[in-house]
């Protein structure tokens, strides 16, 4: 009886979740009249704007990840080593982007960094790009911080640091050549999640008026028939790939940690 109910619920869930996925897949194949074809995908891939915006967002995601790592890893390391009392404060700050809606954060950027302010980032293309990258780092902060914090919890930070220092390493060397390699897997899982979040992000890109993939998606949704479904399928596949890579990374880390010391 229990199993019957369990199967029914799972079955219901499968129907609810697979119908839209099947729906978008089927719809994306219907561009040619009367036969399934990959025309919609070909049309998307041939669109210069698709390539430009996707490339832009991919580069943005990569830069966001670099900035996120540069900010998060040294901070988590330092707090664990020297300022454990500060940990709740840091943790609280990193959770704020989940509390404050992204649209409010970007609104704050537009008002605070406008052309007549002391730091007129929104006034130039480069400035807006930098602001977008920073905004994305803020959005990914909760995920990046938690990933790195879990990673650092698994290693003996103090002993490793002292060992490296007694061998003559400076702080930069300790971070780059001792700590970072040890938390690389954690950083990677944070990075893939960041990528999945950033690649199709809409609100920041639209309000900062950047030519990113998210605004392109909305534009395609309003102006094309079959391409949006194809784009959705491609984005979904990309999200899967990111999650698969995270799983792979965690499995890999478990493997290395199991090895005898």
């Amino acid at each position: 009886m229990r199993r019957f109910w369990s199967w029914s619920i799972v079955g219901l869930g499968v129907v609810y979740f697979f119908l839209p996925l099947v729906g978008m897949l089927e719809f994306s194949l219907k561009m040619r009249r009367g036969a399934y074809s990959l025309d919609a995908y070909a049309s998307v891939l041939a669109d210069a704007r698709f390539r430009a915006t996707f490339g832009y967002s991919a580069v943005m995601a990569a830069l966001t990840i670099v900035l996120g790592v540069l900010i998060v890893v040294p901070t988590v390391f330092w707090v664990r080593l020297k300022l454990p009392k500060l940990r709740p404060v840091i943790e609280f700050i990193t959770l704020l982007p989940l509390v404050i809606p992204p649209i409010v954060i970007v609104f704050g950027y537009i008002r605070l960094f406008n052309t007549s302010s002391w730091l007129p980032l929104t006034g130039s293309t480069l400035g807006s790009d930098i602001l977008l990258m920073i905004g994305y780092s803020v959005l990914s902060l909760p995920y990046m911080y938690r990933a790195v914090d879990t990673g650092l919890a698994a290693i003996d930070v103090r002993t490793l640091t002292e060992a490296a220092q007694s061998l003559g390493a400076g702080w930069a060397t300790v971070l780059a050549r001792v700590i970072l390699p040890n938390v690389l897997v954690a950083v990677l899982s944070g990075a893939f999640l960041t990528f999945a979040i950033v690649i199709g992000e809409y609100v920041f890109a639209a309000l900062l008026d950047r030519p990113a993939f998210g605004p392109y998606l909305v534009w395609a949704g309003g102006n094309k028939a079959y391409e949006p479904a194809a784009l959705a399928v491609m984005t979904f596949a990309l999200t899967w790939a990111c999650m698969a890579l995270i799983q792979l990374a965690t499995r890999f880390s478990r493997h290395t940690r199991m090895q005898p010391k």
Binding site: Y16, L21, L96, P101, Y109, L217
Partner: protein
């Protein structure tokens, strides 16, 4: 000794300075700017007029719709997500199904925004797969029956798509915290499964459930992209109103924009506060 102390303290703080400067500049100051903006007028003098203006019918209705939408999608997501989590964790199903459900939830909870709207249109739009199949196989025309994607229930259905997976991800660890001994003890004392759930499991899980409900609520409340892609900013929910306001000052009053944003922070802040306090309470039982 005091000199060494003095030199020591700033050096330790230097290590977290980049993070703190980053957080202050790009998270705390922008938010503070919005909040203070909600309390001043054009000349910079303190006023409560902006907040009073939130009670204009146009704004009030947007907030009411947003809150109803977030609440409905959160409750539905909570109920079904919980059912799925219980089914795959305790339902006696093959263990592989649980791993699949978790991975799938990880993917779909991140598959929100614009692509979700496209998938939804391809499913329940005028030529979507479900619409067409219902019409051709059963002769049911959902549009003739009054279904509309750009409506309260239409949008709720779409939001549930990312709410359920989030619920599964968050509540499964709590379900894992239910000890086997509790169930056995209840059974030994003659409790039926229903009694066990009603008198043991649900009271223990209650704070987690309520807390996650608050989190799902905040999650839906701040979401903009799905709604914009689906409705083309037609549906007047609070975040879309703010979006339009930022884009083109539709309310003819820049300070009302601040007040709108402030209102959103209050709503999501309160629900997150509920989440945190409920979480602290649930940790008494579930470790």
């Amino acid at each position: 000794m005091p000199r060494a102390h003095l030199r020591h303290l700033p050096m330790t703080w230097v290590g977290v300075a980049p993070f703190l400067i980053f957080a202050v500049l790009f998270l705390l100051l922008p938010t503070a700017n919005i909040i203070t903006g909600a309390f001043v007028d054009d000349k910079g003098a303190f006023t409560l007029v902006n907040l009073v203006n939130l009670f204009k019918p146009e704004v009030l209705n947007a907030f009411a719709l947003s809150i109803r939408l977030s609440l409905a999608s959160a409750v539905i997501g909570c109920v079904f997500g919980f059912a799925i989590a219980v089914a795959v964790s305790l339902g006696g199903l093959p263990p592989v199904l649980r791993g699949l459900a978790m991975t799938f939830s990880g993917v779909t909870s991140n598959f929100a925004g614009v692509p979700l709207a496209f998938a939804y249109v391809a499913t329940l739009g005028r030529v979507g797969i479900v619409t067409v199949l219902l019409r051709e196989w059963f002769g049911i025309n959902i549009y003739a029956l009054g279904f509309n994607m750009i409506s309260f229930w239409g949008l709720t259905m779409a939001y549930v798509f990312f709410q359920i997976p989030l619920m599964v991800l968050i509540i499964t660890p709590a379900i894992d915290g239910l000890r086997r001994e509790w169930r056995e003890a209840a059974e030994v004392l003659g409790a039926t499964p229903l009694q066990y759930w009603r008198m043991v499991a649900l009271p223990v899980l209650w704070p987690s459930l309520l807390g996650t409900l608050a989190l799902l609520f905040a999650n839906a409340f701040g979401a903009v992209a799905t709604a914009i892609a689906l409705t083309g900013s037609l549906l007047s929910i609070a975040p879309i109103l703010l979006f339009n306001q930022i884009r083109g000052d539709v309310l003819q009053d820049p300070h009302l924009g601040y007040a709108l944003a402030f209102g959103m922070i209050v709503v999501t802040g309160l629900s997150n506060l509920l989440y945190v306090s409920m979480r602290a309470r649930s940790e008494r039982w579930i470790k």
